[in-house]
């Protein structure tokens, strides 16, 4: 049985259709990342699952039970907010214990203590337990916020961009740590973010959300390599995918000004939007010229901006490749790396 199931969930917020006809299932131990730009409806989705918003229509099942109309407290899910939302005047210990002291839980004091210690150990915040929450750094606050979510062992974690307010180094550290934590707790996670790298590195499956609709839901690898639409393709990858309007003739795909670009299948449409990732562009071996406009060094690789047949193309090549601005190159892309969308 899936941990969470949404069937045709829609939600309108004022003039905005925040969610329209959202359907997916979350497996029992699955880590699902919802990826989308600001305003895509990510947070609304989480708030709807948490019960802070009621869907206008659709079915929302937690562990097989329809909970669309139930209060947040009855759902036994934990939500971690982007801005941490700790109780600032309380100590870390009190913050962690707070969810355990809710009416109806009736845990013995020793059990509360035990669970707080367990969570603190897991998140490596034991030495902070007696500190007031307002004195913590961002990373520490987020650990405590996650600790507050795990102490009561909910059936589902909802994470609202929990790493966005942290600095880059800490973000990468916590990414690995939290992925590992979710695996150990064997609790499913619904994680939303606008960071494609986060989505690709953490998720079992990625759901790409745009304007309240799920455009594609698949493994990170498939979403990255076989995006269903240019819109999805554009959301993943840095530098972004090249999308060029091309025409086909017997020689293959031709760039806007007529230069050949790469070979095409015989049954391909005559006019198409051609997509290929910068890392799949090679600078030699092609049959037409391009001019290097800009070279940006990123350490292990360099991004080369080319003017090629009337289009601007990004290529990501190893730093060892010798390339300079104004240099002429003969770029090429292997046909198997090309994504074709009819125009």
């Amino acid at each position: 049985m899936s941990a969470l199931e949404l069937r045709g969930v829609s939600k309108r917020l004022g003039a905005v259709q925040a969610l329209s006809d959202v359907s997916f299932e979350l497996g029992a131990h699955e880590f699902l990342v919802v990826l989308g730009p600001t305003g895509a409806g990510k947070t609304t989705l989480l708030r709807t699952v948490a019960g802070l918003e009621t869907p206008d229509s659709g079915v929302l099942r937690l562990g097989g039970v329809d909970v669309a109309q139930r209060a947040p407290a009855e759902r036994d899910v934990a939500l971690v907010f982007q801005n941490f939302s700790l109780y600032p005047s309380k100590t870390v210990r009190e913050n962690l214990a707070f969810p355990l002291l809710a009416p109806g839980r009736r845990l013995a004091a020793a059990e509360v203590d035990e669970r707080v210690r367990w969570a603190a150990q897991l998140l490596r915040i034991e030495r902070l337990l007696e500190r007031p929450a307002r004195q913590l750094s961002g990373g520490e606050m987020q650990r405590v916020a996650i600790g507050r979510a795990i102490v009561r062992r909910p059936r589902l974690f909802l994470m609202d961009e929990p790493l966005t307010n942290l600095d880059a180094k800490l973000r990468e550290e916590l990414r690995v740590e939290l992925r590992e934590l979710a695996r150990r707790l064997e609790t499913p996670v619904l994680w939303v973010t606008h960071d494609a790298a986060e989505a690709l590195s953490m998720a079992d499956r990625v759901a790409v959300l745009s304007h309240g609709r799920i455009l594609q839901l698949d493994t990170p690898r498939t979403v990255y390599l076989r995006p269903v639409s240019p819109l999805v393709a554009r959301q993943l990858g840095s530098p972004p995918i090249n999308l060029i309007e091309v025409r086909r003739d017997e020689a293959g795909w031709r760039l806007p000004s007529g230069e050949p670009c790469c070979s095409a299948a015989g049954d391909a449409p005559r006019e198409a939007l051609l997509g290929f990732r910068p890392e799949h562009v090679r600078l030699e071996g092609g049959s037409s010229d391009a001019v290097v406009e800009l070279v940006e060094h990123l350490g292990p690789q360099q991004v080369v901006v080319l003017r090629w047949g009337g289009a601007t193309v990004h290529a990501a090549v190893p730093s060892s490749v010798d390339v300079a601005v104004h240099q002429r190159v003969r770029p090429t892309v292997a046909a198997e790396h090309c994504l074709v969308w009819p125009r």
């Binding site: 939500l79 969810p99 009416p103």
Partner: protein, 295 residues
């Protein structure tokens, strides 16, 4: 010393000088003058001054008027501030939610605060008047035997308190509302998901997170209530045994009785009390600042 340092010093004096002169003329000199006169038999009209040593101070501490005014002022501060705080906070909690006509209600509630206390005193004189006041007419119509709100010894003080509460509850409400609005909604939502009971949300989140700002409001109101003068003047006048506060007593002694020396001694004692309170006040503000209220 070189010349540029000298110009610098001259400029510094030129900038600070006027303020310093004003300070001496209107703060330091009156203070010293007041302290000096508190040891004399100075009168408002005529008469040469003569030192009387500590006689004025001896009178202050023996005088039942002073003790009474002190007690009454303290009672006034405690009652007014606590009632205003409680009412204001409850009002703020009710008005926190959005509803139709909220702006109108808010504006209406704020009107008393905007008006001059002297005008308010006169207005309430009409409302609470024993014979033709609205309140008593209504009470009579309902078959009650209405009391003389403003002239009965047992009621006057409480009537003034009521007016003060009516005037200043909106202030408390406004500050409390600001405090409530500064609490991020996500904290409430987190508590909702954590299954916290409404009582717990109130005692563990709302109250502690509002406390610093409410504390400041209490201090503001307390210092203000301590100076209570205009309402008493407008409702009963300064020489009423049932309503005399420290400020009105001082006014009575100096300007009506003309006993400048005795009044000066009175005010010196009050000054010491005020300094003590001001110390508490500044300590509290320091503490609030160091705790970073908005964290």
């Amino acid at each position: 010393m070189n010349s540029s340092a000298q110009t610098g010093r001259g400029l510094a004096w030129a900038l600070v000088g006027p303020t310093l002169a004003l300070l001496v003329a209107f703060n330091i000199f009156p203070l010293v003058y007041n302290i000096v006169s508190s040891f004399t038999n100075a009168e408002l009209i005529g008469g040469a001054w003569r030192s009387v040593g500590g006689a004025n101070y001896a009178r202050v501490f023996e005088d039942e008027l002073f003790a009474g005014a002190l007690r009454r002022t303290a009672l006034f501060v405690v009652c007014a501030v606590s009632v205003e705080l409680a009412l204001g906070f409850v009002l703020a909690l009710t008005l926190q939610r959005d509803f139709k006509g909220k702006q109108v209600v808010l504006t209406t509630l704020l009107i008393p605060m905007m008006l001059s206390p002297a005008v308010m005193g006169l207005y309430w004189n009409l409302v609470l008047n024993g014979n033709y006041g609205v309140v008593n007419q209504a009470l009579s119509a309902l078959g009650f035997d209405p009391p003389q709100w403003l002239t009965d010894r047992d009621y006057k003080f409480w009537s003034i308190l009521l007016i003060d509460v009516w005037m200043w509850t909106p202030f408390m409400m406004l500050i409390a509302l600001a405090g409530l609005n500064s609490i991020p909604t996500s904290i409430y939502e987190a508590a909702q998901i954590d299954r916290a009971s409404p009582w717990k949300v109130f005692t563990r989140i709302t109250l502690p997170m509002c406390a610093p700002v409410l504390g400041l409001a209490v201090l503001f109101r307390a210092t203000d209530a301590l100076k209570q003068f205009d309402l008493v003047m407008a409702v009963t006048g300064p020489n009423d045994a049932a309503t005399q506060t420290l400020s009105t007593l001082l006014y009575q002694v100096v300007f009506r009785d003309g006993s400048v020396g005795l009044g000066a001694a009175f005010s010196c004692v009050i000054l010491v009390l005020v300094i003590a309170l001001a110390t508490v006040f500044t300590r509290y503000i320091d503490r609030v600042q160091s705790k970073d209220v908005n964290a």
